[in-house]
């Protein structure tokens, strides 16, 4: 018989997703890609929330608090993306580059 998918599997997936996102933020040079990886980290968090919601039922039904929080997070992520892209566009207008290595005016 096929083994059941447990909470741990979802959590490992979420963790891996978060790790990939973090690696992308630290290692990628293109600022748009860094932003996308940032979103990936957020979605990793969402995944773990939903997993907990499903696997910790209250009274036979899943705990809907987790799912509610996910909705909020998605909304907030959208707002954040709007602001973040606005900043990147403003930055591009001055620096004319999407390479994050060339943006060093805060050094020292």
């Amino acid at each position: 018989m096929r083994t059941m998918v447990t909470l741990n599997d979802y959590l490992i997936a979420s963790g891996l997703l978060f790790g990939i996102g973090l690696a992308g933020v630290v290692l990628r040079r293109n600022i748009i890609v860094i932003f996308m990886c940032l979103e990936m980290m957020l979605s990793a968090a969402n995944l773990s929330l939903v997993a907990f919601s499903r696997f910790r039922p209250t009274g036979g039904l899943p705990d809907y608090d987790g799912q509610m929080l996910v909705f909020f997070i998605i909304t907030v992520a959208a707002a954040e993306v709007a602001v973040g892209l606005a900043i990147i566009v403003a930055l591009f207008r001055t620096k004319r580059t999407v390479h994050v290595e060339d943006i060093t005016s805060l050094s020292g």
Binding site: V25, V26, I34, S107
Partner: protein, 608 residues
């Protein structure tokens, strides 16, 4: 505060010095007269005090400080010893003041000179009248200061300034030992006043003293003697006295022949009870004897008239110190007394000669002065006779015989040493007289044109020469020093014959060797270069200074520089360098550290 004669004698020169320095600086003539007047007045008062006589007494002039049981006063002790010594000090002082009126007539710093002389009279009076050790030490140092100011009177001359410094520093080295010895004696005897100390020490029954106590007393006496070694220029601190001849000749006569250098001997006589009780006498007498011999050897090869007399002073001081060490302090005091008169006479006579030869001091450039300056020659010859101890008619004979008697009684080798030194004394003094006064003038410009000096200059010479001759007779010395102070007058014995023999041999040899010469036939480099003591000391000081400087440099480089200054700076700069790497403006770097921080927090939260 009682105003007694001794107090006036003490304070009058002080006020004279103050008056000259504050008010009369510009009128040199008036300053000279003020200073001479004060000296004359102190002489008159001293004679008065002497004639009044009376038992020994101490009058407190001013209570300086009172701390618990310790009371430090400026107190004046009026006893036979101080009365006699004051006659010497004020008498020779007055004569030197009168002599200086003419000798320093054209000097630019005349007012300063007389102020210095007055300051010196004040300080020396303080030493003579000192009632306790601290007061004596204060005036001891004051005398050193006066000596410094007067030796360096012509301070623009580098050699004079150096000589003044040398004198003061050498004195200070001796005074260091003096200070420590003073404190040790105080701790052992419990009293600082000479009277109190004498009582306590006499009260200590010698048989009952433990070996440790006797050793401490010996060490204390030797330390106190260090003061004498410095002040009276004994070996090994004798190096300053010949250089002190850079000062004007009246200064040499007053300070470095008659009074200041005698202060060391005077102090030892004051504490002679210490020498009796401890075992210090042997060391003291040997130092005196060695000084006498070394100085006499050095004198035989000197060519500057004042240097010869300076070494002669050193030699005679050696005699006095030797006598104190042998326990014959009356003989020492008697010799101090007679020596003061004839040595001052010799120095002032040399001053007259130098003045007449237009400030020429080399005896090989003089000659034939006996005909050109008869009075000076007569006084100089009389004082020389006293110095070499011509039998029976001079004061020097009686005092030197007393010392030789003491030497013969206590120790054989010292007697031989003293007799040989007497021979050398006769030799170099005869050499001086023969070369400078007899024969013909060797330098037309200087000695050729010499003529007798003014009465203002030769009258003091005559008075000193007279005192040099009669000062040894019992009547004169007894009247001044007090009859109980004189050494017992022995009959004419072996000592007398040895004395006469050494005189004849020494004087004869010099006469034969130097009569009619133009250059010195004898040339002993060792004596002429003063046994190379100055070079030795210079090397010692250089080595010590360099060593100390190297040690300090290493410590400074390692500790203060390395750890302190550079260490602190290095630490700051290193930390700064490390922290700088966090601020490169690299976004991804910041993100990485951010992530690291979050990980740390999670870890800490879970670990709880």
């Amino acid at each position: 505060m009682t105003i007694s004669s001794p107090a006036v004698i003490l304070l009058l020169p002080f006020f004279s010095a103050v008056l000259i320095l504050l008010v009369l600086k510009r009128s040199a003539g008036v300053s000279a007269l003020v200073a001479t007047g004060s000296a004359l007045l102190t002489l008159v008062l001293s004679i008065g005090v002497l004639m009044k006589g009376g038992a020994a007494e101490s009058a407190v002039l001013y209570n300086w400080s009172q701390a618990g049981g310790l009371s430090l006063d400026i107190a004046l002790k009026n006893d036979a010893l101080s009365r006699g010594m004051m006659i010497v000090v004020t008498g020779i002082g007055t004569l030197v003041h009168i002599f200086s009126l003419a000798y320093m007539k054209d000097d630019a710093g005349k007012a300063r000179f007389f102020a210095g002389l007055s300051l010196f009279m004040f300080s020396m009076t303080g030493i003579v009248y000192a009632d306790n050790f601290p007061m004596m030490f204060i005036f001891w140092e004051l005398v050193g200061v006066s000596s410094y100011l007067l030796i360096g009177h012509w301070y623009t001359k580098a050699s004079a300034a150096d000589a003044a410094k040398k004198a003061f520093l050498t004195n200070r080295i001796g005074d260091f030992g003096f200070m420590i010895g003073k404190l040790v004696v105080w701790s052992m005897a419990g009293a600082l006043m000479f009277d109190g100390m004498k009582e306590k020490v006499d009260a200590m029954d010698v048989a009952e003293l433990s070996a440790a106590q006797i050793s401490s007393l010996t060490i204390a006496t030797l330390l106190v003697f260090c003061g004498t070694v410095g002040k009276s220029a004994q070996f090994p601190l004798h190096v300053w006295l010949p250089d002190a001849m850079e000062g004007p000749t009246p200064v040499s006569a007053l300070i470095h022949a008659a009074t200041m250098v005698a202060a060391g001997v005077y102090m030892m006589v004051r504490v002679s009870f210490l020498v009796g009780v401890s075992h210090a006498g042997e060391v003291i007498s040997w130092i005196g004897g060695v000084t006498a011999l070394l100085a006499a050897l050095m004198a035989t090869q000197q060519n500057d008239i004042k240097r010869i007399l300076a070494y002669s002073t050193l030699s005679q001081l050696g005699y006095m110190v030797m006598a104190v060490g042998l326990g014959a302090s009356e003989a020492s005091m008697f010799h101090l007394f007679t020596h003061a008169w004839f040595k001052a006479g010799l120095f002032l006579g040399s001053g007259a000669v130098i003045y007449a030869c237009h400030h020429e001091q080399d005896i090989w450039k003089m000659g034939g002065l006996s005909k050109k300056m008869p009075v000076t020659f007569a006084t100089f010859a009389a004082c020389t006779a006293a110095l070499v101890a011509v039998p029976f008619v001079t004061s020097g004979w009686y005092s030197k015989e007393a010392i030789l008697e003491a030497a013969k009684e206590k120790g054989g080798v010292l007697f031989v040493l003293a007799a040989f030194t007497a021979l050398l004394t006769a030799f170099y003094m005869t050499r001086l007289v023969v070369v400078a006064f007899l024969g013909k003038a060797r330098d037309e410009h200087g000695a050729g044109h010499a003529h007798e000096v003014a009465p203002v200059m030769f009258v003091p010479l005559v008075i000193l020469a007279v005192m040099g001759v009669i000062g040894g007779f019992g009547a004169v010395a007894g009247a001044i020093l007090g009859h109980e102070q004189l050494p017992a007058h022995g009959h004419f014995g072996v000592v007398g014959m040895v004395s006469i023999a050494t005189l004849i041999v020494g004087a004869g040899a010099a006469f034969v060797l130097y009569r009619g010469r133009d250059r010195d036939p004898v040339n002993i480099k060792l004596f002429a270069n003063k046994f190379y003591f100055d070079e030795l000391y210079a090397k010692l000081i250089a080595v010590a200074q360099d060593g100390l400087a190297t040690v300090v440099k290493v410590l400074d480089g390692l500790l203060i520089d390395g750890l302190g200054v550079r260490g602190a700076a290095g630490l700051a700069s290193g930390a700064g360098g490390m922290l700088r790497r966090l601020q490169v403006g690299n976004i991804q770097g910041y993100a990485f550290l951010f992530g690291l921080g979050v990980l740390l927090l999670v870890f800490l939260a879970l670990a709880k």
